[in-house]
């Protein structure tokens, strides 16, 4: 398994605690990203991490940072979220997203929304403007209208690439197992962050599995599976085989290990290994702790990820790859 984590000690660093540095980590999906998409994926996660980081630098909250980072990824057609999302069996785009605030455990999620450019922001509105945690389908779209969220024409979110892929697969139902052994499955995006006040947050957004059944809901909008955030332990965003992530409630599982004293890196590795052993699913996760420890871990061939931690931009794609750039 591939893992990159915060440099230095894996255990809690008392100096680090007192510094309360802000960290943001993003991912652009765990799958066998083909070479022709590699550069765009890496550029995309780096840009998104920098977006999130500038929010934190301005004194913004972890919640603001993860929303900004995921919006950047949703707007980028290279990723399977918002613009560029995969199509369901009917050739339509249905989107899922979640956001969670570790300070209060408040959360917002949408599943199967259509014609919305930034589902993560709609999820945030569910959290902040309703008494509910999750809205689905038409109800979610009605809510969007009621708060003035612009509906974009269906074609806006489609890309030529996805239309072609949908055509290719229309007559051949791809087993979910196969998608993760093949080159052509896109995936989810997400971000986690801890701000200067020590608050953590997570966000995840996706178009789901290509040619999924109409109305299929994966892990991304399900609290505890696609993401979870709790100031007492940390924030997680997951990607990979959605059905497997759901079965093991991956985000909550990772934090259950952190609660028992394991490092974010070990917690991620143990949980992904368990998912592989118990339900034969592959995927990836990003985790951040309230003290600024972080990890990006995956069991798929590749995962595009990036993190900004104390003015250093870390990023990678292939297993054990950990590149860095100094930020001014």
């Amino acid at each position: 398994m591939a893992e990159s984590s915060s440099p230095g000690m894996k255990r809690e660093d008392p100096d680090r605690n007192s510094k309360m540095s802000a960290v943001v980590v993003v991912h652009g999906g765990a799958w066998a990203i083909p070479d022709q998409l590699a550069e765009a994926s890496v550029d995309g996660v780096k840009a998104a991490a920098c977006e999130g980081s500038s929010v934190l630098k301005r004194g913004g909250s972890a919640l603001d940072a993860v929303e900004a980072a995921v919006r950047a990824l949703e707007d980028n057609p290279a990723f399977n979220a918002g613009h560029g999302a995969t199509l369901n069996a009917d050739g339509e785009v249905e989107l899922d997203a979640i956001i969670m605030d570790g300070r209060t455990l408040a959360s917002g999620a949408v599943s199967s929304v259509k014609n919305i450019a930034n589902p993560v922001s709609l999820a945030r509105a569910v959290m902040e403007k309703t008494a509910h945690v999750m809205l689905t389908s038409r109800g979610a779209n009605l809510f969007a209208e009621s708060i003035g969220v612009v509906t974009v024409p269906p074609d806006t979110l489609l890309t030529e690439y996805e239309k072609k892929e949908w055509e290719k697969h229309k007559t051949y139902v791809t087993g979910v197992d196969e998608d993760f052994n093949t080159q052509w499955a896109h995936d989810t995006v997400g971000a986690v962050a801890v701000d200067r006040a020590g608050n953590v947050a997570c966000a995840t957004s996706t178009g789901g599995i290509r040619n999924k059944m109409v109305g299929r809901v994966g892990d991304s909008p399900v609290i505890g599976a696609g993401g979870y955030a709790d100031n007492l332990s940390g924030a997680v965003s997951c990607t990979g085989h959605g059905e497997s992530i759901l079965k093991v409630t991956l985000a909550r599982l990772i934090l259950s290990h952190v609660e028992r004293g394991k490092s974010v890196a070990d917690s991620s590795q143990l949980s992904l290994q368990y998912m592989a052993d118990r339900v034969r699913g592959a995927g990836g996760s990003i985790v951040v702790s309230p003290s600024g420890q972080w990890a990006a871990t995956f069991t798929t061939d590749r995962m595009a990820w990036a993190a900004v931690d104390q003015d250093v931009l870390w990023y990678g794609l292939d297993p054990d790859e950990r590149l860095r750039e100094q930020l001014s």
Binding site: S112, M213, G215
Partner: protein, 352 residues
């Protein structure tokens, strides 16, 4: 971290003091409610059902009690006949969906528009297989549709129109919405349209989510949960029920849970999983259930109830609300209760 003062005794809780509070909780005496001495055999099979947690008015309590006892008998008959725990929980929940006294299937609460949108969930503990539907309309038994999602698709959850299309493709009959609406649910809907109404408060206990957990003779665990959701909810609102780990969870290595109560609060603490994590750490079914409910109360300001079972057949029915209608069947004995501390028993006449 500040919580609204919602009832006497609730205080502003900061994380540090919450953790020390948790450390002081002791397991409640298990003798009456759940544990038989471990040297007794035949703790399997067992099935437990609930008909919702809250403040059930006296005039409805008879309906609730007879409803859960009938449902548990039906589930137990399946188990005694050699059926699986999954068959048993689906059977028990089907009974409760068909019973108009409960907030599931027929008798579901209405959303703000006066429509019925239902959520349901099943999970089996051997392979962690699961199926769920959310915001589904015009079908009589969402729990059976959830099971079809598990058995007949490669997905775990279908929502709204997609769930309906799938039902159609499976030959599940579409029923008119009117057949699911009772006078009682319509009356409660109308009452809560008033701007100063408090639907969460109003709902607590009068109409509950239903659920079941079971362990069969092979030691396989399963859970099932079904609901019409929260009274006067927004259209498309999805609660804890169809969210794996929240409305329920089943794992042969640990146990099975089905939850009821304030859905949003259950979701925030991923209640079913929370309880099972405690059991993995060595807590009993009761202590784990109580710890989960305490977490939900103090961190998410919500009340609810749970039924929990471990693979050895220990079970618990616990709630932080005023009442929860529940019933259990084990060793040809029926247990049931409504108010805190109640555990009535009766022998079950089993036809072999």
């Amino acid at each position: 971290m500040t919580l609204e003062q919602t009832e006497p005794g609730m205080q502003e809780i900061k994380p540090a003091s919450f953790m020390s509070l948790i450390a002081t909780l002791k397991p409640v005496s298990t003798s009456r409610l759940s544990t038989f001495p471990s040297q007794l055999i035949d703790m399997l099979p067992v099935v437990v059902v609930h008909g919702g947690a809250g403040h059930i008015p006296k005039e409805r309590s008879e309906l609730s009690t007879s409803g859960v006892t009938s449902a548990v008998r039906a589930g137990y008959a399946v188990l005694r006949g050699g059926g699986s725990s999954m068959d048993a929980v689906v059977e028990a929940v089907t009974y409760l969906e068909n019973n108009p006294a409960f907030n599931a299937g027929c008798g579901s609460v209405l959303n703000v528009k006066g429509d019925v949108e239902m959520d349901a969930f099943v999970m089996e503990g051997k392979t962690l297989g699961s199926g769920a539907v959310s915001a589904v309309r015009n079908i009589a038994n969402p729990i059976q549709l959830a099971r079809l999602v598990m058995d007949k698709t490669s997905h775990l959850c279908l929502t709204a129109e997609g769930a309906k299309q799938f039902a159609r493709s499976m030959g599940v009959p579409e029923v008119p919405q009117e057949s699911l609406i009772t006078e009682y649910s319509r009356m409660r809907w109308r009452k809560n349209l008033a701007p100063d109404a408090n639907p969460v408060e109003c709902q607590m206990g009068k109409m509950g989510t239903v659920g079941a957990v079971a362990v069969d003779s092979q030691g396989n665990v399963a859970c099932a949960t079904s609901t019409g959701g929260i009274l006067n909810k927004m259209e498309g609102r999805v609660g804890d029920t169809p969210c794996i780990g929240c409305g329920g969870y089943a794992d042969n290595m640990v146990g099975a849970v089905s939850t009821t109560g304030h859905g949003e609060a259950i979701m925030k603490v991923v209640l079913a999983k929370h309880i099972l994590y405690q059991m993995e750490q060595g807590q009993s079914v009761e202590a784990a259930s109580d710890l989960g409910l305490a977490c939900m109360k103090f961190r998410a300001a919500g009340l609810g109830g749970v039924i929990t079972v471990d693979p050895q057949g220990h079970w618990a029915a616990r709630f932080s609300s005023r009442q929860m209608a529940w019933a259990a069947a084990q060793k040809d004995t029926l247990h049931y209760g409504l108010y805190e501390g109640e555990n009535f028993t009766q022998s079950i006449d089993v036809q072999h």
